[in-house]
């Protein structure tokens, strides 16, 4: 991955989060949550700043970032699409739904569309097994999704502006 030069402002944001957590190494995960919330993702350069601020090794920060599936080192799309691959969703056809998303968006799992609008991911059980199969777009939950519905779900987010989609 090509190196990114962090702006002074970004570095300032990261330092602020670290000091909010008293620069304590044991708060690493909370710090990562906050920083990812503000920046969208956690590239290596960001991890270096965090490691320095919390006085722990970069290897440790990297180890934690890569261990937990919530943390990402690549930027997500404006509307992250997550398909539940839990058992209940799986047996009710989540895989067909996933392939339909892949086909329509022309991306693989873990990638974003070139316009940065959508990214595609799988996750394990959102705890809505009664609605299987389940698809999440941002924080919105779609239940009992069939491959036929995929087109409409994508269209819903393509047409409206980002702010409207979020309030939906």
């Amino acid at each position: 991955m090509p190196g990114i030069k962090l702006s002074e402002k970004t570095i300032g944001i990261i330092k602020q989060v670290c000091s909010d957590f008293r620069n304590e190494g044991s708060e690493l995960i909370n710090v990562l949550h906050q920083v990812q919330g503000k920046l969208g993702y956690l590239p290596a350069e960001v991890q270096e700043v965090i490691a320095k601020e919390l006085n722990i090794s970069v290897a440790k920060v990297y180890g934690v970032v890569t261990f937990y599936s919530f943390f990402t080192m690549i930027p997500m799309g404006e509307h992250p699409i997550s398909i539940c691959m839990g058992t209940a969703c799986y047996v009710r056809g989540a895989e067909q739904v996933l392939s339909e998303f892949k086909r329509q968006l022309k991306v693989e799992v873990g990638q974003s569309t070139p316009d940065g609008k959508f990214s595609l991911n799988c996750l394990r059980c959102v705890g809505a097994c009664g609605l299987a199969p389940v698809v999440l777009v941002g924080e919105k939950v779609f239940g009992r999704v069939s491959p036929q519905m995929v087109k409409n779900i994508i269209a819903e987010y393509k047409e409206v502006g980002a702010s409207e989609a979020k309030s939906a």
Binding site: G25, S26, E27, L28, I29, N30, L32, H33, K60, G63, V64, F67, Y68, S69, F70, F71, M85, G86, T87, A88, Y90, V91, L123, R124, C125, V126, G127, A128, C129, G130, A132, E139
Partner: protein, 394 residues
């Protein structure tokens, strides 16, 4: 052998929580010993799935002398097919907080944490509001107890208690060796009680009504009621509170779609029970029930005859391979090999005898894996392969 216990509905968990102030103040006016005795005589066992007696857990932690101890509510509900804790935390959160506070009083802890599953971030604002209200009341009655939420980050393994501590300490969620157990050496190396959300909600029932009300439900060795998350091929998916000890046949009659081929009890780390065993299987903890008795965290997934058991197993193994923390070899390599193995058999690249070899591998994993994850892969693997061998091959 046929289990004669009937399916009985119960209604305690979601019943009104409005009297939490009274339950809390009354409980902490009793001695810790009284409260422990109450819990022990209720025979409440942990509702996360492992079934450790709750009263004993509190007692062991109370007996250690240390000025700093912790109470942790395990809300890292990650077992595929379970969604009861989420419902408890949205419907009756005060019961859980009260359970935590009473536990703090009993063991001598002033700080409580809720380890909330990352996927449940939408519960956070409401929970924080409720915690503030709760802490305000504690202050009013001069009871020193605070609660903080720690957000999980999407790792199934962190539901394992020692991995959860590691995660809270800002590390990779890799399980520790046991012993020492959390009652001696838990979060930050301090004596810690860690209970499942549902377990804490049950302690509320016990402190409110007394142990007998709880003990009268269920059967010997499996007292009380339990929440079940019902999903899969069923006309009525959802959460149901049922008395423990019912037979699986009764359960299927109530929740099945008339074509139930098998039920996975306890999620991916649980057991698959085929139709021919419904009559001889009871849902509860190990004990002297007739036939086989299966403990569960409450996930009940029904499969009808249109489902391929190969696909189900494939999905479980995919899940375990993904979620294995990678720390110990039996689990890390074992999960990969099992997944590769069943695919090879299915494609005809391996002889069917290879399945027996894989079964032996799960036995090895059961004996040598460091924590419950690697040890329990054998449960679903052997119960599916042994009962639906044919589907693995053709």
């Amino acid at each position: 052998m046929t289990i004669s216990y009937q399916l009985k509905r119960a209604d305690f968990i979601f019943k009104n929580q409005n009297d939490w102030e009274e339950v809390l103040s009354k409980s902490i006016s009793r001695t810790p010993q009284e409260l422990i005795n109450e819990l022990i005589s209720s025979e409440l066992k942990g509702r996360g799935g492992a079934g450790f007696p709750t009263g004993l857990k509190w007692k062991l932690t109370a007996e250690i002398s240390d000025s700093t101890k912790y109470v942790i509510c395990n809300a890292d509900e990650g077992e595929p097919g379970t969604f009861k804790d989420r419902e408890i935390l949205s419907m009756v959160p005060f019961k859980v907080l009260t359970g935590m506070a009473v536990c703090g009083y009993v063991i001598g802890a002033k700080e409580g944490y809720i380890y909330l599953r990352g996927e449940y971030f939408f519960l956070l604002p409401e929970l924080n509001k409720i915690i503030r209200e709760f802490e305000y009341y504690c202050k009013e009655i001069k009871f020193d107890f605070t609660i903080r939420i720690f957000m999980g980050s999407g790792a199934y393994i962190c539901g394992e208690e020692t991995a959860l501590f590691e995660s809270m300490e800002g590390k990779r969620g890799e399980p520790r060796n046991k012993p020492p157990y959390p009652s001696n050496y838990g979060y930050m190396g301090k004596p810690t009680v860690i209970n499942n959300v549902e377990t804490l909600a049950h302690t509320y029932t016990i402190f409110k009504y007394g142990a007998k009300r709880f003990y009268d439900l269920g059967v010997q060795y499996s007292r009380g009621s339990k929440l079940f998350s019902v999903s899969g091929d069923t006309p009525k998916p959802g959460i149901y509170e049922l008395e423990l000890g019912m037979s699986l046949a009764d359960f299927v009659e109530e929740f099945g779609d008339g074509d139930t081929k098998a039920v996975q009890v306890g999620g991916a780390s649980g057991f698959l029970v085929p139709r021919k065993r419904f009559n001889e299987t009871a849902i509860g903890f190990q004990g002297k029930l007739v036939g086989i008795s299966l403990p569960t965290g409450g996930s009940m997934m029904l499969f009808n005859s249109s489902r391929s058991m190969f696909n189900v197993l494939d999905n479980y193994l995919e899940f375990f391979r993904e979620e294995s923390c990678g720390q110990c070899t039996p689990c890390r390599v074992g999960c990969q090999q099992l997944l590769k193995g069943i695919k090879a058999v299915k494609r005809g690249e391996k002889n069917t005898k290879y399945l027996d070899k894989l079964l032996r591998l799960t036995e090895t994993m059961k004996l040598t894996a460091k924590c419950g994850l690697g040890q329990s892969v054998a449960n679903s693997f052997s119960s599916i392969v042994e009962n639906f061998r044919e589907e693995m091959i053709y």
